[in-house]
Symmetry: C2
Subunit: 462 residues, 2 copies
């Protein structure tokens, strides 16, 4: 994880450097110092169009100049190998290679099981938080302010404690069947989390320093919005995972497929610009993305449906043998569907069968693929707009050819919420195991009451 | 509800007005136009101390000048009556009168029952949202931007739909015992809410306009943070109310008592300044507030504990007769407590009883009063810092002598969360009625399974 280090200390910013004419030099310098953020020199807010600006967009470029940006230098050896190709192709190949590497790595983590996936999600989340927060630091230039860095990391830890501990506790209760290991932590989980948050809140109020109020409040809001985006999404991703790995793998793959296929279609057929925010995106790419995602999404869903490893919920995971064992729910059992009448007629003519055998999940995957390919890109447009607002090219430089992690995961933003809401609304019945846990927490007389009410409800005569 | 109307239309801000010398005139003008926000003229960001500012604190005063601020004009008739008194006393009396009026109004709403309280909470929430958002509009001067006002109100409606509908549905299910009235809305509640949010999100992305990106994103964040503060708090307040009105009335009263008593103690004995953020607050006021809140809080708790109207949960509310009927839980039954040994000895000497009869709730109220008087004020400091950051005196002018609604409810901010977490962690066992509702939603075979597991667990032999 990249940490941001001040080159200079003290409270006031350093004097202005030489004018930024020698861009080529500074880009090399940027290479070396991309883990440092230098506090920026002052440039007078002289306004070109006579409009006063509360947020001064004129010097943002200078403020964010030192943030790490993607570069081709880190893949020098690839560059040498691909030197013969034109620039456009070279970029495409570098990007493809690293896409494949990521897909392979992702596959490996899936193989290691749900705990590894949870850890991966956590790591990605922390890195995304760091990337977004680093922009805030640069933009509001609060590097000299006491406590601010610690405070936002503290908030990250607090909110992660709140969300992750809950998931972990659930994991241990359901998988290891030992809910009592962490009983005190479970019982007082919310109270502990809230206490941690209140400490952060009081800390923030006490750290307020005159002259910096506005920037401190802005960064406080920035931290909260970042947490809202990053931590809640990763919590939902893990919750989806618990319903069966398929609910995690299929949506993530769909976004990847849509990104890649839209890029591919745009690359080969792209002509009509789609939206001003992302000038490289085209209607051809968008539509190609939708169609590919729907088809490939259905194929992947169909393939995964037959493996218990992907369709069984977390309760049925055996962490020692690293396998899932369960009777798959109806969603994952082949079902005979009648075709619509018009199609039946056509199929009759050609002597084809008039019913089709499908996993019901494949039909659900249709909804997922439409969302991921139609609404998903708006997460990308949102990120593009954000980058334009702050005049940065990328959120970071960890993945060659791709930029920062946020650049890659921008479209996943709303997807996790969608899947979660979708499962909750259309798929999941309340979980009997969880309800039993709830009942066991009741007083014996209430348990007895429920037992009798249930007896009545089920018309059981003794 | 005050709506903000542009005096001028079009995309560019109007030319600069006359220099702001005649403050007395402009304050009168302010009176007349306090429901309007005028788009602010340009003032060049010439910097006095040579530091460049991304957020330019130098002209904030001009930007927010037209926001409604508290004034004594609205209580002219009172002013005339109190003209003989010195200014400090007059302020105090105006403030006290309106405090009493508010307390009386609040009592009336409590008398009308839980539905009226829910509506009151909703109204306060909407007004608080409007006050905070209005500052954002002025500060980022996006009055000319298409859609922005509609968008943030849309977001308010969406999040209220999400939170309030859930509470209302619960209310109808538990109180009117007719969960089926709203069945489709309940089943797809999350999906509908999420769809509404996604529409807002897409709308925001499509409304992005070059040159305004930074301000649009800032205001988007501003809206989200405001929603986080305002809507979630009011949701939690209602959830607390459902556990019994006492969980709502006692905490709210404690904050009011603490505010008033700290003010009173500070007014009479205040000498030592407490915190730079709020120069009027003193240690004497703070400590006086804590002691008064603990004592008065216990007294109020003790008094309320004996009324079913306050201690029964929402399930036991009869909306036609407007009464609560239940057997109060152990928390609200007089219990004999032994005094600590040292106290017992002292009491023995004086021939006093060595046990004390208390409602257990009174002991819980100790935790609530300590939180409300020690941490509660930090909500106020936070609001003070916020007002200082934006150089405004008050959030609004709806309550004479008090300012805006946010000024009055700033300390309630963390209290609702605390009470909710406290109930969840230390008081509430899972609700048997809710668990039964969950079981009835299961498939018959799962219901049967739970029945058998429960039979085993309870060691029932047939």
């Amino acid at each position: 994880m990249t940490t941001l280090i001040n080159r200079q200390s003290g409270d006031r910013p350093p004097p202005p450097p030489a004018p930024t004419q020698s861009q080529s030099q500074s880009s090399q310098q940027q290479q070396k110092s991309h883990s440092n953020v230098i506090r920026k020199p002052s440039i007078d807010n002289v306004d070109s169009d006579g409009e006063d600006k509360l947020i001064d967009e004129s010097n943002i470029e200078d403020l964010v100049k030192e943030l790490p940006q993607s570069s081709d230098k880190t893949v020098q050896f690839l560059d040498n190998m691909l030197a013969v190709l034109p620039n456009r192709w070279r970029n495409y190949i570098v990007r493809s290679i690293f896409t494949l590497l990521m897909v392979f790595g992702f596959g490996l983590v899936i193989y290691w099981g749900p705990l590894a996936l949870m850890i991966l999600t956590l790591c990605i989340q922390v890195k995304c938080f760091q990337e977004i927060i680093a922009i805030g630091y640069s933009v509001y230039r609060v590097h000299g302010l006491p406590w601010f860095r610690s405070l936002s990391w503290y908030m990250l830890i607090t909110s992660n404690y709140f969300f992750y501990a809950e998931s972990l506790v659930e994991y241990f209760a359901l998988v290891l069947k030992q809910p009592n290991i962490m009983q005190p932590l479970i019982s007082y989980h919310r109270f502990i989390s809230f206490t941690l948050y209140v400490i952060g809140f009081v800390w923030f109020v006490l750290s307020l320093v005159k002259r910096y109020y506005l920037r401190q409040f802005s960064l406080f809001a920035w931290t909260h919005v970042t947490l809202l985006i990053v931590v809640t999404q990763s919590y939902l991703i893990i919750q989806n995972m618990f319903e069966g790995l398929i609910w995690f793998i299929v949506p993530v793959s769909m976004i990847v497929i849509n990104d890649s296929m839209a890029y591919l279609f745009g690359f080969f057929f792209g002509k009509t610009p789609l939206i001003k925010l992302s000038p490289k995106k085209t209607w051809e790419g968008f539509i190609g993305g939708v169609i590919s995602t729907v088809f490939l999404g259905m194929i992947i869903s169909y393939l995964l449906c037959s493996y218990q490893f992907f369709v069984c919920p977390i309760e049925s995971y055996d962490p020692i043998e690293r396998i899932f064992k369960c009777t798959p729910s109806k969603l994952f059992q082949l079902t005979e569907y009648c075709l619509p009448e018009t199609l039946q007629l056509i199929f009759k003519i050609f002597g084809l069968p008039q019913t089709i055998s499908l996993y019901p999940f494949v039909l659900h995957s249709l909804a997922l693929s439409l969302f991921s390919s139609i609404i998903g890109p708006f997460g990308g447009f949102f990120a593009s707009g954000f980058k334009r607002a702050f005049k940065i090219k990328d959120f970071g430089d960890v993945i060659p050819g791709h930029g920062g992690l946020v650049d890659r995961f921008d479209c996943q933003y709303l997807m996790a919420s969608f899947v979660n809401v979708y499962i909750y609304s259309f798929v999941r019945a309340p979980n009997p195991t969880k309800i039993l846990h709830l009942i066991y927490q009741l007083k014996p007389e209430d348990q007895m009451n429920i037992y009798q009410m249930l007896q009545e409800h089920l018309n059981i005569t003794i």
